[in-house]
Symmetry: C2
Subunit: 371 residues, 2 copies
């Protein structure tokens, strides 16, 4: 006899049903229906030193129907939960948050009001509320963001659609990272890679891929093309968390590169709930770092003078709790002293093989990372 | 006995060598060395009605060494040709134009001058000059731009690296379009699809991919994620030109959507040389068009009022030679009259199946296109 257990999607449907049932009960009891919503504002976000992640606190607020300021938002919240329940129950395809908005936007009969008038200020924040209410990522609610990244390496994945994807056989383009990389939809089947190397820029990923760096170093080579989208972050989390692979982040030497590293590692403030589930607190910064400029004798032709925006950003980042570690405070102050930034693309100024054959192998061999 | 013919790369190397030899001869003959460069300015770009493409004329200008205004540019041109010749001869990996810039930038011994100080104003335009001089795309010179698009469908490709890619087995992400899709590097092996459908937005591509639209309609489903990058345009050209597949472009109903269609079809002014080799003059506009709004009873919730920018852009586009056809002039004037735009994402307001099950099959069945 097999015991039937609820799968993830059924669990979420149950939670969504409970929201509806509770509301109905309040109505039947003659009470003003209300929902408890975790606050997602700055004053409920904090950096947790123990986990090394940017996290959401537990401050709640009530969203009540019989309140002139909250009635519309209350109705919108129920509409979003209803629609997500329908999508999951009917096994409908995943939608973008803009598509969800369009499925819900309509005029309310007998009034001149629309259910929704704007996506970014109305439906998107409510989707984030619902994510927190049911403790699930929007991808688990079958809502997607556009992914941009690609990967290559000794990893095979089985998708729920039946397809098996082998990321060591994706050729010159690498494998496109799909919008949903959640368990169930996207199951790791085998992985013989030793670590993950994330590079900031596509041009550098492309050069390393042509040089078969991932094959020689036995790693998974990934890029999010600059600031990563959601599914790149979530995939990296799963490679780090589920497969226990060490993760190294390789960016430009500039405050923007440092920040990209921190988003992969600790997450970001404005998506704190996602940060908890997408962060990689064990990720290490392989470079490019200030000491590399002298250690590897980077030619002056690759230096770019820091501009005012860079200096302002260095100051901002220095103030973030997750950059308060002494080694990062030192790195930030060294960058200011150095007065120049170096793009990772610029390392071809040394030689076209330099990154693959000298820089990365040395840094890994010497465990020369920032943490 | 097999006769050894020159391959494409060898032909380009020969042309590059000839540039060098001619220059050397001029020097040995005591003349001022000079190069003939096809002008890429607006006054040498025109819309060719016969081919239906935006093309480059044949106006030339001389770039001379013994000319104080041209000496540096002359030197830079020789540096770029030298470097490309080296990359091709040595079978070096393909680089981004930024990486090429960094390999060439250095201080000139005995002076305070650098060979190059800026990529966008110095090395990039020269790369375009060299493309025209040797009649080859920069991708054939092993210089890449970052691609963004994905495809799915019954197409298999053999890459020069040995990998065979089957775009009907790429799962939920589809296949990433590589930066180089040139013959030799990226050879079509088999294709049983009947046509290519290009959709503007990733969210719509993703929905259609989940609904297996490409399987049911037997097409290749592609997106360039908005305004396409170079390799999406070049791939579409090859699917249209080499495989003789009909091409349909599906965009938002707004002037920006129309323009994306025109870039795929006729090319663009600022990359006229590329337009000739990347255009698809037979491509048809499947929608979304003004008459579709009434034909398919698109609900008001999906309408967005045209703003000033939209109206300005409608006016601009109306003036372009390649929008002068009566049917396009009428469409542009109808859009202005309609006063609203409709995003392709918004069609889920009809139903989640509407695009795949009703709209696209009807439009194809009735051959209801703009041309």
């Amino acid at each position: 006899m097999t015991v039937k257990t609820m799968n993830e999607s059924e669990e979420i449907i149950e939670k969504l049903k409970t929201i509806g049932k509770d509301t109905l009960k309040e109505i039947n009891d003659g009470k003003s229906p209300s929902l408890n919503i975790i606050q997602r504002s700055l004053n409920n976000v904090y950096f947790d030193k123990e986990t090394g992640l940017i996290m959401l606190g537990d401050k709640q607020q009530k969203r009540t129907y019989f309140n002139i300021n909250q009635a519309k938002k209350f109705m919108q919240t129920l509409l979003v939960t209803k629609q997500i329940k329908w999508i999951l129950e009917q096994n409908q395809p995943a939608l973008s948050t803009r598509q969800l908005y369009y499925t819900l936007k309509h005029s309310i009969p007998g009034t001149r009001e629309n259910t929704f008038d704007d996506q970014q200020t109305e439906s998107d924040p409510i989707i984030e509320d619902v994510e927190v209410m049911v403790d699930a990522l929007r991808e688990q609610l079958k809502l997607i963001a556009t992914p941009n990244g690609v990967i290559a390496g000794a990893l095979t994945v089985k998708e729920s659609t039946g397809e098996t994807l082998d990321y060591s056989k994706m050729g010159s383009a690498g494998g496109a990272i799909p919008p949903i990389v959640e368990k169930g939809a996207f199951e790791f089947k085998s992985c013989t890679a030793d670590f993950v190397l994330v590079v900031e820029k596509y041009a550098v990923w492309n050069l390393l891929n042509q040089q078969k760096y991932w094959k020689n170093a036995n790693c998974i080579l990934m890029t999010g093309k600059g600031q990563p989208a959601r599914s790149e972050r979530r995939l990296l989390h799963r490679l780090s968390h589920d497969l226990k692979l060490p993760v190294y982040i390789f960016t430009d030497l500039d405050p923007w590169g440092y920040y990209i590293y921190s988003v992969y590692k600790q997450g970001s403030i404005n998506l704190a709930f996602f940060s908890e589930k997408a962060g990689c607190p064990n990720a290490k910064y392989i470079g490019f770092s200030t000491k590399d400029v002298t250690d590897y004798e980077i030619p002056k032709s690759a230096h770019i003078k820091l501009n005012d925006l860079d200096l302002k950003r260095i100051k901002e980042i220095s103030g973030y709790d997750w950059f308060k570690k002494p080694e990062w405070q030192k790195e930030l102050s060294n960058l200011k002293k150095l007065g120049v930034k170096v793009e990772q693309d610029a390392l071809v100024a040394k030689s076209i093989e330099f990154t693959a054959k000298e820089y990365l192998p040395n840094k890994l061999e010497e465990k020369d990372f920032l943490n």
